[in-house]
Amino acid sequence: MLAQLIVSGLATGCLYALVALGLVIVYKASNVFNFAQGDMAMVSTFVTFTLLETLRIPFFWAVLLAIVGAFLLGALFEICLLRPVKHPTPLGLIIITVGAQQILYGVAGWIWGYDTKAFPSPISDMKIYRFGGLVISEVNLWILIVSVLLMLALLLFFRYTRLGIAIRAMSQNLITARLMGVSAHWTLSLTWGIASVLGAVAGILIAPITFLDPNMMLNPLLKAFAAATLGGMNSFAGAVVGGGSLGILENLVGGYLTPELKESVAFFVIILVLCVRPSGLLGRHYRRHL
């Protein structure tokens, strides 16, 4: 039972981590908690749904199109909503993301309706693999594989590509980065695009499990915030570790203690972390010179 709980928890945790990574990337680049991250993912998942159900596009192409769409959605979000803001304050930007979240939610409800839909995924939720006494479903296996690959890709991107380095540079010192020739505008749009893609992938992976409706990302987003805080809001590795451990911890509490506390345990942990180590497990505390 222990191993089973850990494996399923890890799969759930990977999804938290994907959403959390999107939050962290945006936070690092623009110092904004993006409350629209979840519903951007939800809209992308609904787009995939429409491509699959209504337009009958094969799964691979539908996902590819949806990912391109998600990238555009994220980039446009930055270009149309955040960039025009003069003299942005962190609070003002957060309110913009909250507003955008409400708009996305309402529009999604209007277009696709609020009733629960089954997501037509070729990855079976019922097919299982057995490893000794351990059962892992095909969908969880995919979640694990895709998440790990995506996280690796991100790691390489930020370590070794010029663009990745530019984003990191910008997050540490905007002015110096600009002096060094980084185009802050386009780098930011790109960052938002990447964050949106991460969300979309999480949405598409989670949809066969949680089903599809405008509320689907509400809970994963909350957990992702928790995971990011746990791991450190400015650490990519922190988001991954935070997400994974949160997923496992939740399942252990649900399995051994009581399911009633399963949801709130995340927040106990966060308060504890914030008290003991405010920058998170792997976060670094930058001193800002103003």
Partner: protein
């Protein structure tokens, strides 16, 4: 200000004539407008629905009510009057419900309410409507407090959680010969009401309740719930959960090879379950308080859906809305041309084992405000539900 003085008899006669005049006017106006919200050609009804917000998918019920009355109007209305249903959005928030209901009562002056959706939302206005002597027919909620204690102007219709949970348990014990029962329920007051009923009836029928596993509305991973149920060793599991949680649990259970007999609350009597839970839903038994939507007798319902609501899903909420509307229409028909609120109450109390197209066995009476007390069971077989039992009423 100067006061006009007169002798006392002068004043008295003035008063008397004024009184006479108003009385006369009242009589005349009574002949024209029989009752608030009723004119020569229309009856104005109101309802509150979650058109937006977290429960927006439930609002299919409100749209079904409206569509049903549109059908009634297309066929000439009731006793020469068309029905006008005013739907107000409360976003499933009790504070809003209060506002919109007040607006419907005081500004729009509706005659009565029908099918207002939700428990917390409904409780926020239950006393307001009852004290104001405004009838509310078939509030869409299974809360037992609607009819217990009975309130003169509230006609609860949906079978309530207390009765339903007991019937579910009784059926599992007597007809399915369950040896060990477990319940899977949502951790909120309504879930607890289910748990209470199940615990009570299991004790009466002497079947051990070996597991009671709750979940939160926000849970997404049901592995631990499934494992716990499996460990409890229950051969029959009662499902007191919404469709998403039910589907997820059943899939998880199937994955770990746990296949008890599932017996579900009527909430899951919905074709969407075949899509959500897939093969795991096969063989599940579900309670139904209404005639099955795919039964031959329910053909008028299916034709209605095709004609008036082609874009709404066939399922729990349109079934409920349809049943509530047909009950209201029947009551208005019985009330006749001289429609008043008191007259409506009078005829609602004459409902005795009344069957509509979907509504079944509706009974109200003086001091009796719980309309429906019976249900039957259906089995999920290859994408459809098949009736497998007679109607049961709680003994």
């Amino acid at each position: 200000m100067r006061r006009v003085r007169g002798t006392s008899w002068q004043i008295r006669s003035l008063w008397l004539s004024l009184l006479g005049l108003t009385a006369g006017l009242n009589l005349i106006s009574a002949a024209f407008a029989a009752e608030v919200g009723v004119t020569e050609t229309t009856i104005k009804l109101g309802t509150y629905q979650p058109l937006s917000g977290p429960a927006a998918s439930y609002a299919t019920l409100g749209r079904t009510l409206a569509a049903y009355f549109k059908m009634v109007n297309d066929r000439g209305g009731i006793h020469g009057r068309k029905i006008e249903l005013l739907i107000r959005d409360d976003g499933y928030n009790p504070a809003n419900t209060r506002l919109v209901v007040k607006e419907l009562v005081e500004r729009e002056k509706v005659f009565a309410f029908v099918g207002g959706l939700g428990t917390a939302t409904g409780l926020a206005v239950m006393d307001y409507l009852n004290d104001g002597k405004i009838p509310h027919v078939a509030p869409a909620s299974g809360y037992s407090g609607w009819s217990n204690p009975p309130k003169r102007y509230i006609f609860a219709q949906s079978i309530n959680y207390a009765v339903e949970s007991r019937l579910l348990t009784q059926y599992a014990a007597e007809q399915l010969n369950a040896k060990k029962l477990a319940i899977f329920y949502q951790n909120d007051p309504l879930g607890k009401e289910g748990l209470e009923g199940v615990t009570d009836m299991a004790q009466k029928k002497r079947v051990p309740l070996v597991g009671s596993i709750s979940y939160e509305r926000t849970d997404t991973d049901f592995t631990s719930h499934a494992l716990k149920l499996q460990r409890s060793g229950a051969d029959t599991v009662l499902l007191w959960a919404i469709s998403k949680a039910t589907a997820s649990l059943l899939k998880e259970a199937a994955k770990i090879g746990y296949r008890p007999q599932w017996v579900s609350s009527l909430v899951n009597l919905d074709p969407v379950m075949f899509k959500l839970a897939g093969e795991a839903w096969e063989g599940a038994i579900v309670a139904s308080p209404y005639t099955l939507y795919d039964a031959t007798e329910a053909a008028p319902y299916r034709e209605f859906m095709m004609k008036y609501l082609p874009n709404e899903p066939i399922g729990g909420f349109s079934i409920g809305g349809y049943a509530m509307a047909e009950i209201m229409a029947e009551a208005l028909r019985r009330a006749g041309r001289d429609l008043t609120r008191e007259r409506l109450i009078e005829v609602l109390e004459t409902f005795k084992n009344w069957n509509g197209v979907l509504a079944h066995n509706i009974t109200w009476g003086p001091g009796k405000r719980q309309g429906q007390n019976s249900l039957f069971f259906a089995k999920a077989v290859k994408g459809e539900y098949i009736k497998i039992s007679d109607w049961f009423t709680l003994d």
